[in-house]
């Protein structure tokens, strides 16, 4: 799925016609349009390869892959919302606290008030939306910098969490609720050595991905733009196919697709589509790119910013629920530093500090880079102290590389 998201964009922004295309030059040009995102994808692949060797193959074992997804699911959910907020030219520092607050609220509702878990979840998401709307109101309509509003929110929701929980963990949760974080797709059909539903789903995703590729290529050509030479294009399809198949087989040989991955997939496709194809998505980019110009073009920038923060609130709530489900408890310490991980993921994945740039897929790639680093370094036995140092350097290097690249391109 990863690849399908990137391609249409690169095709649009990228190559300018050249009378004498050689394979190398075509590749270089195709890459140039989206250096940061392709760069990060390549970096991700290298990091995976590096740790695969370093850990003697533990990294890509089915169990570890599943762990990796379940450990990073909530950060990736946050990164999607954070990317949208950053594209609009803002920032949200409160998401970690808000996730904790919502997790705590859900815990209190389920454990102390015995609400059915789906009802509690729904209420929790509404709480997230209201919290996001509250911050969005101050930022969009009263013009208070998002940094300050969400810094206040960070304290507010953290304090709220502690008040709700009286400083104690609240547990345990019903089985159904736990499964949103630790559950898998059910097993159906005849007994093979693989998880059947996962295989089917994987094949469907692969089919869609290949069709998207073909469609994108045809459309690009119809605009009179240069497309990748056929050989290169087929190679690309082969890489996509191989990557999807390997991933699917790995998952299918363990318990199958984790529920978190389904949630993430839905969010990725949904928000990716929203940002690429919807009017409100387009308006978000326009505001981040040049807010005065967007306003003078009739874009209702206040409403868009308000909605971006409301959406962030809902996603923070969802992340909080997933995290609580994973711990099987609502705790006062939940969500600490989540906002920093999410922001780092967005910037590593191609966001610009001044807004207007970035993709939902980028946020996922950025989040995975961090996630694989965390996981891989833990497996190798690097202490959390050095892990932080290395992650800090990676963030700096990713953004530094991008700035350097832009300057060299003279843009």
């Amino acid at each position: 799925m990863a690849q399908t998201e990137i391609i249409p964009d690169s095709a649009q922004n990228g190559p300018e016609p050249d009378p004498s295309p050689s394979v190398g030059a075509a590749l270089a040009r195709a890459l140039r349009g989206n250096v940061r995102q392709y760069g990060m994808l390549v970096a991700l692949a290298l990091i995976v390869l590096l740790f695969q060797i370093w850990t003697d193959g533990i990294l890509l074992q089915p169990l570890n892959i599943t762990n990796l997804i379940q450990q990073n699911g909530y950060i990736l959910i946050l990164a999607i919302g954070m990317m949208i907020v950053i594209i609009a030219g803002h920032i949200d520092l409160s998401v970690g606290s808000l996730a904790a607050f919502v997790g705590a609220a859900a815990a209190v509702m389920m454990v102390e008030h015995h609400l059915p878990w789906p009802v509690a979840m729904l209420i929790a998401l509404v709480i997230g939306a209201l919290a996001g709307a509250w911050q969005g109101f101050w930022i969009a309509y009263l013009g208070i910098p998002s940094f300050i509003v969400t810094l206040a929110g960070m304290l507010l929701f953290r304090g709220g969490t502690q008040i709700l929980l009286q400083g104690q963990s609240v547990a345990p949760f019903p089985k159904g609720f736990q499964s949103i974080s630790s559950g898998f797709l059910p097993e159906v059909g005849p007994h093979t050595n693989y998880h059947n539903l996962t295989l089917l789903l994987g094949l469907a995703v692969l089919a869609v991905a290949v069709l998207q590729e073909l469609r994108g290529r045809r459309q690009t050509a119809s605009y009179g733009l240069e497309v990748l030479p056929l050989g290169l294009f087929l190679a690309k399809l082969a890489v996509i196919t191989a990557a999807v198949l390997v991933f699917v087989l790995l998952l299918a040989s363990y318990h199958g697709v984790p529920i978190v991955l389904l949630i993430l997939g839905a969010l990725l496709v949904g928000f990716g589509y929203l940002m690429r194809n919807s009017i409100i998505g387009r308006h978000t980019y326009a505001i981040g790119g040049n807010e005065p110009a967007a306003k003078l073009s009739g874009v209702k920038s206040k409403r868009v910013v308000f909605l971006a923060f409301t959406n962030m609130g809902v996603l923070a709530a969802l992340a909080g629920l997933v995290f609580a489900a994973r711990l099987n408890a609502g705790t006062p310490q939940a969500g600490i530093n989540f906002e920093l991980e999410a922001i780092a993921a967005a910037f590593i994945g191609g966001a610009s500090a001044s807004g207007g740039v970035g993709t939902v897929m980028g946020a996922i790639i950025g989040g995975l880079v961090l996630g694989v680093l965390n996981n891989g370094m833990s497996l190798v036995g690097v202490g959390t102290d050095y892990q932080q140092v290395i992650k800090g350097l990676v963030l700096l290097a990713a953004v530094g590389f991008d700035v350097y690249n832009k300057r060299r391109a003279g843009s």
């Binding site: 605009y223 194809n277 387009r282 040049n290 110009a293 003078l296 209702k300 207007g356």
Partner: protein, 515 residues
């Protein structure tokens, strides 16, 4: 009077594609107040930037002699050390620092990096007395009006031991009372031996304080006139400012003018921050179907402010007035309302207000009417690209594809993208603010043709421009503005550059006498 304090000889300065100054000469005698006049874009500011080192030595041709010695300033500091200080129209004061701190900013009374407050405050108090400003040196700049801020700027210049003071439009933002005080101060400084260059559009002020006036036009020196005790007539200056041929070619058109489509009545706008200042004062105008109407005015006349305020209150604070479309009052309180009623405003500042420079041509063109290429909130990229492609062809936008980023285009092509965006929105009324500013002659002609076509389609077109030949070549009727008021309305047949310039330089005081 002694010899010249300043001589600028054969100064030429080019920007990519434009020759801003060509062989300009300027001589300022010691102890005189020398005025520089010219239309917007005549090269006044460029000349002053060359003089003050904003454009460093080597970036221009010609030579500068200050007090008889050749100068090669590499930056502003270098020129300030010689005693040449420029005060820009946009004041360069830090609002939350005190008067004293601002006066010595970058020029602190300090020993080894530690500021001596005693010396700072006593010296500041002394300078404030000298410029006649009765304020404590501790007062924050933000708490002062613009007139007093202007005096702080002059005090700051005096602190740098100024010998030649350059004032760029010093009274543009001031009321009559503050302007009078400022001019008195200039005369007082002159008596103390400080020479002064003053750039101004207000001819009555020039006549009052200047000893000589140099007129620039299209980057060239036209003449320098010494002003004797008998003074100078404003007509004399105007003749020098405008004496230019209609040099561009304008499309032939036979206007088919219909009924009144668009009216602004008694529109009044106050400054967004300084609410005492009225930026647009009871302006009324109308445009008919198929008509191209011009708005002439010098910098600070309130033309852009009027247009932006009408277009969704995008500037300042509205304090009265109505907008009518086909005789019915419409609400234009937000930009979307204005667009919804078929009004389009093409900004004068395409980089800051017109385009998303990091996005491509197609997405810039569709932005203000995305609904037209979308269904159920989903943008049809294919349709959008086709629309953009057709504009790229018809408007002759020079770019490899419609997926080229607008930030990489030339000014003329950027302007075509902005125009395309608003034509795509299919407005009934187009307000074009400086539609050809900073673009080359070829692109200008193309844009004139587009404007003529829009009028031929029955749209009402309002063109704001600082170039009088452009207005005379393009418009059926021209309004003039000065100091926020409409000072005249002239049919094209009756308009000349001189008559327009006279109306454009009419200050509130003189217009009261004449009207």
């Amino acid at each position: 009077m002694a010899g010249p304090v300043l001589e600028m000889r054969s100064i030429s300065k080019s920007f990519p594609g434009v020759k801003a100054l060509s062989e300009v000469n300027l001589t300022v005698a010691a102890g005189e107040v020398h005025a520089i006049c010219g239309e917007n874009g005549a090269g006044k500011s460029t000349l002053m930037k060359v003089l003050s080192g904003v454009y460093p030595h080597g970036g221009y041709e010609g030579e500068i002699l200050f007090e008889g010695e050749p100068c090669q300033f590499k930056d502003i500091r270098a020129s300030e050390q010689r005693g040449i200080v420029i005060i820009h129209q946009e004041l360069a004061l830090v609002p939350y620092l005190s008067i004293a701190e601002n006066i010595f900013l970058g020029n602190e009374h300090a020993t080894r990096g530690i500021i001596s407050w005693h010396r700072t405050l006593t010296h500041a108090a002394e300078l404030l007395r000298q410029v006649g400003l009765a304020e404590s040196p501790h007062t924050r700049i933000a708490d002062l009006g613009v007139g007093k801020q202007q005096l702080v700027e002059i005090a700051k210049a005096l602190a740098k031991k100024v010998k030649l003071l350059i004032l760029d439009e010093p009274t543009a933002a001031l009321n009559d009372e503050d302007s009078r005080k400022l001019l008195d101060l200039i005369l007082e400084l002159k008596a103390q031996g400080i020479s002064c260059i003053i750039i101004s559009h207000k001819l009555n002020e020039i006549a009052r304080v200047a000893d000589a006036v140099t007129i620039l036009r299209d980057g060239q020196t036209i003449e320098t006139i010494a002003i004797g005790p008998e003074g100078i007539s404003e007509d004399r200056i105007i003749r020098g400012m405008v004496g230019r041929d209609l040099e561009h070619r304008y499309p032939e058109r036979t206007p088919e003018i219909g009924e009144v489509a668009f009216e602004i009545e008694d529109w009044t706008v106050r400054h967004p921050i300084d609410q005492q200042r009225t930026v647009v004062d009871g302006a009324s105008l109308n445009v008919r179907r198929g008509e191209i109407v011009g708005v002439a005015g010098l910098m600070g006349a309130g033309r852009t402010e009027l247009a932006m305020s009408v277009f969704g209150r995008s500037y300042g604070r509205w304090s009265g007035g109505r907008v009518l479309l086909h005789g019915r009052e419409i609400r234009t309180r937000t930009v979307s309302e204005a667009i919804g009623h078929g009004i389009a405003y093409v900004t004068e500042d395409r980089k800051q207000l017109g385009l998303n420079l990091i996005d491509d041509i197609s997405r810039n063109i569709s932005l203000s009417a995305l609904g037209k290429v979308a269904r159920y909130g989903r943008v049809d990229r294919h349709e959008e690209s086709k629309v953009a492609e057709s504009f790229r062809r018809t408007m002759n936008i020079k770019a490899p594809t419609v997926f080229t980023r607008t930030g990489t285009l030339s000014g003329g092509n950027q302007q075509k993208v902005v125009l395309s965006k608003w034509i795509f929105a299919e407005p009934e009324v187009l307000i074009l603010d400086e539609p050809t500013r900073g673009i080359d002659i070829g692109a200008k002609a193309e844009i004139y043709t587009v404007i003529a076509e829009l009028a031929a389609q029955g749209k009402a077109v309002l063109v704001i421009s600082s170039e009088l030949p452009e207005l005379l070549g393009l418009c059926d009727r021209i309004y003039t503005m000065a100091e926020g008021r409409i000072t005249g309305e002239v049919a094209r047949a009756d308009a000349t550059q001189e008559s327009l310039m006279r109306l454009m330089t009419m200050s509130a005081a003189s217009s009261n006498e004449q009207v």
